[in-house]
Subunit: 195 residues, 2 copies
């Protein structure tokens, strides 16, 4: 017989999402989350470095998806191909079954600036690591920085669309459409070739 019920971390995460969704982030204390999970506040902070972090676990997996997508590209892939590959890699993460959960979580985040800050921070971290990965593949700066930034930006736009109830396409289709659109946008329609 174990001294404590296992799965503390998961119970804390569930309790937190539930409480944040009903009462709001600010109106929920760390102590309340801990009690709802059957532990003490101190234990909460042993699992999560701060109150916001309880909503942002598993970003390493998201990062791995990005990097895996890059790794799966052929050695001579161009930067755009790598961006597309990264987006493709991450698409497996956002299957249709996850949409309800993602929406619930995102609603909580959208309702609180502090949580939005943390979300941006996580994305920026991924962007930084992606930049490093691209450099490792021989992409020089500033191309690596720009490509990684593009991947993260398109990911953000894709994610937002994917959550939209009016949007029915799967994640990877949205991502590719947006990447194509960006390509069309950013290519200056030179006046000479466009009479």
């Amino acid at each position: 017989m174990a001294r404590w019920r296992p799965g503390t971390r998961e119970r804390l995460q569930e309790a937190a999402l539930e409480l944040f969704a009903t009462r709001g982030f600010e109106q929920t204390t760390a102590t309340e989350i801990a009690e709802a999970a059957g532990v003490t506040e101190r234990t909460f902070y042993r699992h999560f470095s701060d109150k916001r972090e309880v909503l942002f676990d598993g970003q390493e997996v998201l990062l791995e998806a990005f990097l895996g997508g890059v790794r799966r590209c052929p050695a001579d892939a161009s930067p755009v191909d790598l961006v597309a590959g990264a987006l493709q890699g991450v698409a497996s993460f956002f299957s249709d079954e996850r949409r309800p959960w993602s929406r619930a979580r995102q609603a909580v985040i959208d309702a609180n600036p502090a949580l939005q800050e943390r979300e941006l921070s996580k994305l920026a971290t991924i962007g930084g690591l992606l930049t490093a990965a691209l450099r490792d593949r021989g992409i020089p700066d500033p191309a690596a920085t720009l490509a990684a930034g593009t991947a993260v930006m398109v990911f953000g736009a894709t994610f937002g669309r994917w959550l939209d109830p009016a949007e029915s396409r799967p994640f990877d289709q949205i991502a590719h459409a947006l990447l194509d659109e960006l390509g069309a946008l950013v290519t200056r329609p030179a006046p000479l070739t466009r009479p």
Copy 2:
């Protein structure tokens, strides 16, 4: 004779930057900043909503520079032109005289994750408002979102380079070079359609 010395806000900002630079952000309490500026902690929080915010004042002006750059574009400007215009508008902000100050401030930010979060948050806010401005100019979604995101991303990359001691070009030149590079990057060199 005034009851209090004027310029409290500015004194607080200077004291904060100074203390953050020497002791570090976490090791500096709001009370210490206030005392260094000759006021109480409560007054600090009357001027700045939180401890980080003291470093991020004047973002409205940066936003205005972005929007001003957009406004100065001709009515039929393409999205890339608008992005370029926004970057051009913001370039006036980063004259060479500001580089030492910007570097000092950035060193403080780079040394602390919480400050980096706030910086990202400010940039995201600007991105959102820029998106709205582009929509107002008739750019539909998702082009508006992507273009604004591009502007902010290229701005970030430009700012980083501009701060680099090895970089001697002025802000706007770096920005345009990076935007061009992005255009080259993101345009898939499709052999079939590009004979």
